[in-house]
Amino acid sequence: MKALDLIAISDIYADIDVLSHLVSMWGERERENRVTIVAGDIGIKSASRHYVQDIHHAFSLLSKVSRYLLYIPGDSDDKELEVNLPNAINLDRKNCILEFQDVKVGFLGLGGAPAHSVRADEPLPYLWDESIPIIAEGLKTELKINIEKAAQGHPDYIVLVTHFPPYGIADRSKPITLREMVVLEDILEELKGETKPEAEELTKKKITTSPRHLGSRILRDFVKYYKPDIHIFGHVHKEGGKTETQEATRFFNVSHLSPLPYRLTGRKFLQLKITKENIIASFDHIITERNMPFNEFIEKYL
């Protein structure tokens, strides 16, 4: 019995070059058994004049190697993003059930990101403020309805897909920015990374820009209560590749596929081999020349 091959990627920023490598690496042979999840930040709406074409191009490539494409828009995407491909399913505030041979998987999703997780002056189109009670209630209700609907189909597993992490899990970073210069400054500061001298008492300004938990408290409470089997998210680039298990849920931060903002941690994807009996998870990178000598590898990929 062949396992369902579930691939999860995030934070693509319409990098067609990496997606092309991905297509050549995965190949079309396993397409019928493969479901690809795109957990947001597919393009950058505010920075690209060809945003719609970028997205279409990205999905056309992914479609070649995937039987189904499940996606949610991230904070850099258009909230109303719709992909017109027969095998593409928008999971934002929705749910679906997919059946492969003898394994049945329920999916639900939530796109965008909490406003507190990005820098205040960032022009991102899909943000919401979970500190406003009416918004928080709305999000909770939608998540609740969708997981209950998915559960009614009696799936073997339920997979929650969001763009952002739950509070406290693989979510520690400075607020997210897409501005390269700010990222460069952050990298520099962090790489110098000694433990901060104790004499240096923090000012308010320092606290607001220092690493902290960027995740959503609503999501944390929801996951704790409903316990989906798998929670896939991206958004916090620095924590990409981290895996955690809490109670019945396995969490995966799958960011980031694009080599931006950090070449060193980019090109990442998660692979889940799902059978009725178990789920085997592993992270890998879109690297086609693995046998390249170390010095050439550094030159090429850093």
Binding site: I187, P197, G241, R263, D284
Partner: protein, 484 residues
Amino acid sequence: MDVCGFREEHGLKDYQKPIVEETLHEFEALKRQNVFISLPQGTGKTIIALAALTKLINDGKVKRVLVLIPGRQLVKQWMEKANEMFYGLGLIEYAKLSKEGIEKIRGSLKHFGAAGTAMTMQSFKNVFKKEYFTEEDFDMVIIDEAADLVVSRDFIEGFRMSKYLKGLEKWQNPKLFLLPYHVMEKKIIGLIKKFGKNSKLIRKMVQETQFICTVRDPEIIDDPPINVFVETLQDNYKKIKTSVHRILNKYGIEGYRENLETLLNPETLDRLKKIYHLDEDTLQQIQVSIVKYILIQHIEKWFLYSNRTELSRSILSAQRDVEEWLSYEDKKLNKLVEVVKNHLDKNEKVYVFSQYLATAELITDFLTRNLSLKPRDITLITGLDEADAQFEKLSSFKRVGKVLVTTPVFGKGTDIPQADVIIVYTPPLSTEKLFQVVGRIRGGDVIFLAYRGYEEAIMNQVAEQLRRAFASAGVESPGLNRYL
């Protein structure tokens, strides 16, 4: 009758007595405004200062003293030590920056006969700015670990010196500065310049054999792929740095070569753009190159200091040789387990130092698992701990612990004489800081770990440097007084 003094079981050591006398002579007979005492770690600079202070209080020359200390956790330790060794001092810890808090302290100073207050240098900055206390409130100031805020040898040192204890230089009260012996002359000169020429430096290399550490030859680990990775990264680092210099040469840009990182500052870049007419592409090329070489240095440290978790999450893990290297257990950590076990078997307490937080956590976890240590056996102290927690954890290690793992959190004046051996897993970034770190244990073995090859050569040099420093103990070099 004396109002304060040593408690019964305490007193001055022979070598401390003349230093106290000299200090008092400088203040009383020669009317010095500033006395700088520079002695090796562990020789009791604080005790010397307190002994001088009690004499001045008993003679009625000092009623209120202000004690300035670099960090919050050290204020607690300082007061604890003072109360343990001296009676009648009753120093009050300055804890909160509020007018009410100040009034409480002022009240205690006035009505309960407290000899003064101790606060952090950061608190002093705020207090001075808001004029909660002025020089009229005190008769004397003691500044412990005085070189702490100005020890780094970078380009902004001049700026830091101007900010350092800003305002205190205008106070006319006698000031006693305590500095470690290894502080560079240049820094002491800077301090003296700032606080005025009516100063005296008492700088002595006191020979206390029990404080001399034995620097062992580095423990060597065989793991050949490491050399390939690290040397390749080093070559790359040099190449990128050269390319940045080449751009600077091309445009005739001078003044940034010592600290290329300053070129990442947007204001600096704007300046370069205007003065040298650099285009956007060139500016970006400079920035990207600098970030890249810093990144490469960092990756090198991941390889050398067992940060396999970060390496596994990076694209490097997809390279064939790295993937293979990551597939087997970390040999340096295994060597660490072996060395720690040897010492624990001899009933010795072990202190493991790591410059980096992630490595310190990793070490703690690895040792706990591989040596079946109980939580009370191993203590991890990092900057993530609050000052009070750091203090409590350290006390716990001193009382019942077997292994202590820390980051540079104790860079300033904390003693750990209970440790019999220090293992420097990732060395500090400067020789001065290394002296501070190994000096904490007050004598014992100093052990470095190194991969055979590239790292071995470096660690041999570091060990040699430390040995030479310990060997030169006893040679007095007070020549700095020529600057006074």
